[in-house]
Subunit: 450 residues, 2 copies
């Protein structure tokens, strides 16, 4: 088994976590990694900070280069190798090399870790120059290159999710005039609107022009270059456009091999990360996963999840036994000084699931009120009425606010009730927290409503 | 019942939390609070920062003044009233007013919330001027007053616990030359020595002279004033001495009424905060509590616990039903830029309990390695070998490190295993964390040892 050939498609978080884990367990395993870009194991989440100038050197985003995997891990990493077809019966791959010639390789075990791509609706002008989405490091470098060469002055961000917001901040940092278009009443649709409003306010505060409740309709193009973004209400001039409309799984390759897809066309996998095809596994942004709070399938593309799934796949591919337990939907972001975090289910999801819930929102301080640097923090908690079980948490606040979401993520995973949350022996000292942690203050408020 | 008289002895965290809760539930209840100092509801934890000059006005430490309790809560708060005797049969108290005359008051229900006092060993010279311990706001103001008037240049801190360390920092901030004497090999005895060493280093870094493994033997006194601290090894000149040898419960009043005491002479209470005497309740730093991880009684004096116990006592005193579930031993502190946190049991306690455990220590970064401001963080985790259950966590690191202890506190309370800790869907973005939170990196390391 150890000499069996493992082929991994995709050399970022999930793929390389798995490959490295297999190598640690099986020193003589034949491991081939196919990566369509020039880079492996980079932090896609760091790209907005690279473009914003907070990080100066793109090399710093690369945790381990292809050379390092070859020399230190004895893993045969081939860059500019794009898998274009899987034959699950013959257990062979068709691969395009350097965007040009085609080769074929055999596998005994295959891991699909092809990631995701930014969603771009089919609107007029979408092929024009100056329109970008972010997914790979290569795509981030293209934005950086464009900004250096073209010196854009006006940026329009389409979509107010994490990437949209982080890129709006990056453009502001680089001195651009920034407009952001969002169809919903507030940005950050993974928060309830009352919490999203706080984030909208934070964006306005740093000088972003928000156009909320406006649909994105088209690009205006001149000489093959995007010149403006057209919404249902107006035309916004743009020297550069960033798409932040979410991502879609790169699951076409799997679909072409008749491997079963799941939620939002993410590749369907079991807890061990096995697909419907024999000897074919998948992990990371290309797969659908399981939500531990709702008990339903869900598609969430995040680096933490990709790393964990890669590790689980690696253990199993090396002959071990591991399961990925699913997610609770934790995410965190920062808009200049304002921290934003969420976990669990939001009101809309609870309504859709028909769960009878109560909600409480409280305002507190990040530290003891008298301590220097104490800033505002708003916490929203959601719990099930019939049993008091914590179902979701959302936090917006200043320094020290966001990481508190981990208390709620841990509590939800363990199935704690609001009363048990109040009972938690959380850390307190004046530089860190009020004597009742704001999460517990919210829980106390919520308890009255259940 | 509502017109029955509730008397509360002690007007800080536990006492006033209870009194305020009873008032919210019972608008016509007769509530009398006896406070021996001039202050109510102040943050004792803020006192080192007041003395260090981080907080300028002592009024800011007072959450709610006696006047406010009288006018807004209709609670009869009497300051400079010290209860000196409880007659649990007659249900009467003997009270000393203004340190002078004595009066007597009847109660229907009594809550003892007398707090704690700094431990001072019986050594020669301990009655001299210039020797301080911290517990009440009044004691803090005495230190502040002494420093203004006497302008001390050399401070000696005896004991390297939280108060000792925070006071060492406060003295450094005020420009004093500071020595600290600690009997153990490292400061912060609530950490294992390997982690305590990091804190010792941080103290040296800010200029504190550490004298470790030295016993404290006596004070040298001149004209009634402390002039030096004598250890087993040397004599340390001192213009001011701060005792940081821990606190002891103010339980003499209860003991005098033959109310049962428990761990370390803390008043013994049940989960509802009832003592062994009918109609007598107790809460806060004067009571012994229950450790949820060891399942044993424990004495821990902390503001969070006092507030929670006060709330529980208040609910029960108002005719409701609430229980205090105990503690897991969470605590957090800051020595200038270095954050220190701990929860659960430490190695010594695990050995004493005869629990077969494994430990792992890892070094990581507080943010993504490439993100500006990423600082070092060291995490130690302890787990039970037979079942993988998390038993303890200790963290030392830069900004953002310490509050992560709440993940472990929550996980321990819920009885999670190390494997379940690794599975947690914790928050990640480059400004907040590496893609594997350091707590999970430690858990991965620990899993290999179990």
């Amino acid at each position: 088994m150890a000499k069996d050939r493992l082929v991994v498609i995709g050399g970022d978080a999930a793929g390389m976590s798995a490959a490295a884990k297999v190598r640690r367990e099986q020193s003589d395993r034949d491991i081939l990694v196919l990566e369509r870009t020039d880079y492996t194991s980079y932090s896609a989440c760091g790209i907005p900070y690279l473009i914003g100038g907070l990080i100066e050197d793109s090399d710093r985003l690369v945790a381990r280069s292809p050379e390092k995997f070859r020399s230190k891990y004895d893993i045969d990493v081939r860059t500019r190798h794009e898998a274009i077809e899987i034959d699950p019966v013959a257990q062979r791959l068709k691969i395009r090399v350097d965007g040009d010639r085609e080769i074929s390789e055999a596998y005994d075990q295959l891991l699909i870790a092809t990631g995701a791509h930014p969603f771009c609706p089919e609107v007029p002008g979408s092929e024009a120059k100056g329109i970008f989405g972010l997914c790979t490091l290569a795509s981030g470098l293209r934005v950086q290159e464009f900004m250096k060469q073209e010196q854009p002055r006006k940026a329009v961000v389409v979509g107010g999710g994490y990437i949209g917001l982080e890129m709006a901040e990056a453009f502001v940092r680089q001195g651009l005039q920034v407009a952001l278009v969002e169809r919903a009443p507030e940005v950050m649709g993974t928060l309830d609107p009352d919490m999203g409003k706080l984030v909208s306010d934070a964006l306005r505060e740093i000088g972003v022009d928000l156009f909320l409740e406006e649909s994105f309709e088209a690009f205006e193009v001149q000489n093959g270059r995007a010149k403006a973004v057209v919404t249902g209400e107006r035309t916004l001039a743009a020297d550069i456009v960033m798409l932040g409309l979410g991502v879609r799984p790169n699951s076409e390759l799997a679909a072409g091999a008749e491997i079963e897809l799941g939620e939002k066309d993410g590749i369907k996998v079991d807890g061990r990360m096995q697909t419907s095809a024999p000897n074919v596994w998948a992990a990371g942004d290309c797969v659908a996963t399981y939500h531990r709070v709702s008990g339903r399938p869900v598609y969430i593309a995040l680096g933490t999840i990709a790393n964990k799934q890669g590790l689980v796949a690696g253990i199993n591919l090396a002959g071990g036994q591991a399961w990925f337990s699913g997610v609770v939907g934790t995410a965190v972001s920062k808009i200049c000084d304002v921290e934003v975090a969420r976990t669990g289910l939001q009101e809309r999801e609870l309504r859709d699931l028909g769960i009878d819930y109560a909600a409480a929102v409280i305002e507190a301080r990040t530290r003891a009120g008298y301590f220097p640097g104490a800033g505002p923090i708003t916490v929203k908690l959601l719990a099930e009425k019939s049993n008091g079980r914590l179902l979701g948490a959302q936090i917006v606040g200043m320094e020290g606010a966001a990481k508190r979401i981990d208390i709620a993520a841990t509590a939800m995973t363990a199935g704690l009730t609001i009363a048990e949350l109040i009972d938690l022996d959380l850390s307190y000292a004046p530089p860190f927290s009020p004597v009742w942690d704001p999460v517990q203050t919210a829980a106390r408020q919520l308890l009255k409503k259940i």
